[in-house]
């Protein structure tokens, strides 16, 4: 029996290789040089690697644009427009987070290199999720992503909450992983494969009479994903973890996990289980309603800004799910557009939080934001813009993101859902506005000035620029999302 090693399209997995390679290099360097690897070097490497990966995505895009979506490594990995764009967003997210973490590591006097190793591998996991064409690969990507994050969440040794968050995250994450893989097992049993293309082919070629097993598997997969994207009622981990994790980690988590999980979610749902869309829609409907409303209203009663943003991101997850509900090209493009625009905003927001958190990363009560914009107009205004963007004010990308998903839902014929989600946004508006108002309140003028380190400042600036520039001129991004989805592998 001869074993033919499947052909490998290296370009497709180049970003993963780059990221893991970077992590490995850094690991080796740390091991060999014994703490001689400076934070600057580690950050530089990470940023270089992520930018290289980002550059790769251009190459990939050209390839996909020219010859269409392809699969490789025995159809385990897919290279399509969707994965390319999602990968691009993730690696950019890493680059930005690394810059924030750099200043944070210096301030907190922690080993920068370790952080970057874990961040690089986690990112690789997220990228894998966007490209995976096999439930097992998705599962592995998920685990690579998660295990790195478990450790990152526990990274802050000075705060008890950090370890608490890590343990909670780990226990629940493991639980969700088990549910997810059980779902994969049942789907395997129902369709005979874990490969998404094969599943899709099978479901297309066969008439399903009693799809119980498939449904059972689908439900478990759905719960697994819903957990990762923090959809209500599977969201409970996220506020605690967001709060406990070191703030730059929270930023990283809020961006790349969302992108990776949604990319995989979409791929499984649309690519593999697309024929059963009508079965999943009611579930999504309920999930979306709960997620938008609960996320928004619980954010309302928070005083801790990190928790507030955790609930806010739950609310956003509800909006992202809207595109999945629609299940159309427009819907997929909309969700992609949403995560594309949301990632830089949320990273920049957590960058501001990192700064305000101060040494020890503990000043996260809303009271610390009183009059911030008075004392430091630029920082305050930047945060205000970021918050308003998350609120969905026009001329920011946040508006077009909401516009895109809602348009998809309305297009798919459920205006009621759009209205409910928007009411969730209206509730969320209250706390974004209250926060903004706090920024401009004029009391407490003698609080200490916050030093804005260059790198973090750069990240905040980029985030604000992204949201405003593309908010005024969303055409290119929208076209990209649209095009990427058209190039979505079947």
């Amino acid at each position: 029996m001869t074993v033919t090693i499947p052909s490998i399209h290296y370009l497709a997995i180049l970003p993963v290789i780059l990221l893991l390679g970077g992590a490995l290099c850094l690991l080796l360097a740390t091991a060999l040089l014994r703490n001689k690897v400076t934070t600057v070097a580690a950050t530089s490497l990470t940023v270089a690697v992520s930018l290289a990966a980002f550059a790769t995505t251009f190459w990939q895009w050209r390839c996909v644009d020219r010859s269409g979506p392809t699969t490789t490594v025995a159809h385990a990995i897919v290279l399509d427009g969707f994965s390319v764009v999602a990968t691009g967003v993730i690696v950019l997210g890493l680059a930005l987070s690394a810059l924030v973490a750099h200043d944070w590591a210096i301030r907190e006097r922690v080993q920068g290199a370790e952080f970057h190793i874990l961040a690089l591998t986690s990112t690789a996991g997220a990228v894998l999720m966007t490209q995976a064409n096999d439930l097992i690969v998705i599962f592995l990507g998920l685990e690579i992503l998660s295990i790195g994050l478990y450790v990152l969440v526990a990274f802050d040794r000075h705060r008890a909450t950090s370890a608490e968050a890590a343990l909670k995250y780990f226990l629940l994450g493991g639980f969700a992983s088990a549910i997810f893989i059980y779902g994969a097992a049942l789907v395997y049993g129902a369709t005979g494969s874990t490969n998404l293309s094969s599943i899709s082919y099978f479901l297309g070629a066969n008439v399903v009479l009693h799809p119980g097993l498939l449904y059972a598997g689908g439900a478990l997969l759905l719960v697994g994903f819903a957990f990762k994207v923090a959809a209500v009622p599977f969201h409970l981990w996220s506020p605690d973890v967001y709060q406990g994790a070191p703030t730059p980690v929270t930023g990283l988590m809020a961006s790349i996990v969302k992108v990776g999980a949604f990319a995989a979610f979409i791929r499984v749902l649309i690519s593999a289980l697309g024929t059963q869309l009508d079965t999943w829609r009611p579930i999504f409907w309920v999930l979306i309603v709960f997620t938008t409303l609960v996320g928004a209203s619980l954010a309302l009663v928070q005083r801790n800004t990190k928790r507030m943003l955790a609930y806010s991101s739950i609310n956003h997850a509800g909006f992202m799910l809207l595109g999945l509900w629609a299940g159309t090209i427009r819907g997929t493009a909309a969700t992609l557009f949403y995560v594309m625009t949301y990632a830089p905003i949320v990273i920049a927001t957590f960058a501001v939080l990192t700064l305000v958190g101060g040494v020890g990363d503990e000043n996260h009560d809303i009271a610390h934001y009183r009059g911030l914009a008075r004392r430091q107009p630029w920082l305050g205004a930047a945060l205000a813009v970021l918050l308003l963007s998350q609120l969905g004010v026009p001329l920011t990308t946040g508006f077009y993101a909401k516009f895109a998903v809602l348009a998809a839902v309305v297009d798919a014929g459920n205006t009621t859902l759009a209205v409910i989600a928007l009411l969730g946004a209206a509730i969320a508006a209250v706390f974004y506005l209250r926060w903004t108002f706090t920024l401009y309140a004029d009391d407490d003028l003698d609080a200490a000035r916050i030093v804005v380190p260059t790198m973090t400042g750069l990240v905040i600036g980029l985030g604000v620029a992204a949201t405003v520039v593309f908010g005024v001129w969303p055409g290119p991004l929208a076209a990209l999302a649209q095009h990427a989805t058209v190039l979505f592998s079947p």
């Binding site: 008890a160 890590a166 639980f175 395997y188 049993g189 709060q243």
Partner: protein
């Protein structure tokens, strides 16, 4: 002739359920890990059973990866438990409820 696959599937489902129940009720983080292991074993059993019904070795191969994941999880998980224990001298998860609301 072997017993029908369904028997094993039901057995796996029960094992999964017991694991889940344990996770929901135990307070020791270590035992909760063990419950996760029970659930993963249920999954493995399911995979193997389906491999048999489908006559497909893919199901068995998958079990491999699940085992690796289980191992990796345990490694990190125990690391976290150790880290938490150092601070609190307890592995009870109920004591870890500082963050809430």
């Amino acid at each position: 002739m072997n017993v029908p696959a369904a028997w094993y599937l039901v057995l796996a489902a029960l094992l999964f359920g017991v694991g889940a129940f344990g996770l929901l009720t135990k307070r020791s983080a270590l035992i909760m890990f063990m419950c996760v292991e029970l659930m993963l074993n249920a999954v493995n059993l399911t995979f193997v059973t389906f491999a048999r019904t489908l006559s497909d070795v893919g199901g068995q191969a998958t079990v491999f990866f699940v085992m690796v994941v289980a191992a990796a999880e345990v490694t990190v998980g125990l690391g976290i438990v150790v880290a938490v224990f150092r601070r609190r001298s307890s592995t009870s998860v109920d004591e870890l409820s500082e963050m809430k609301g």
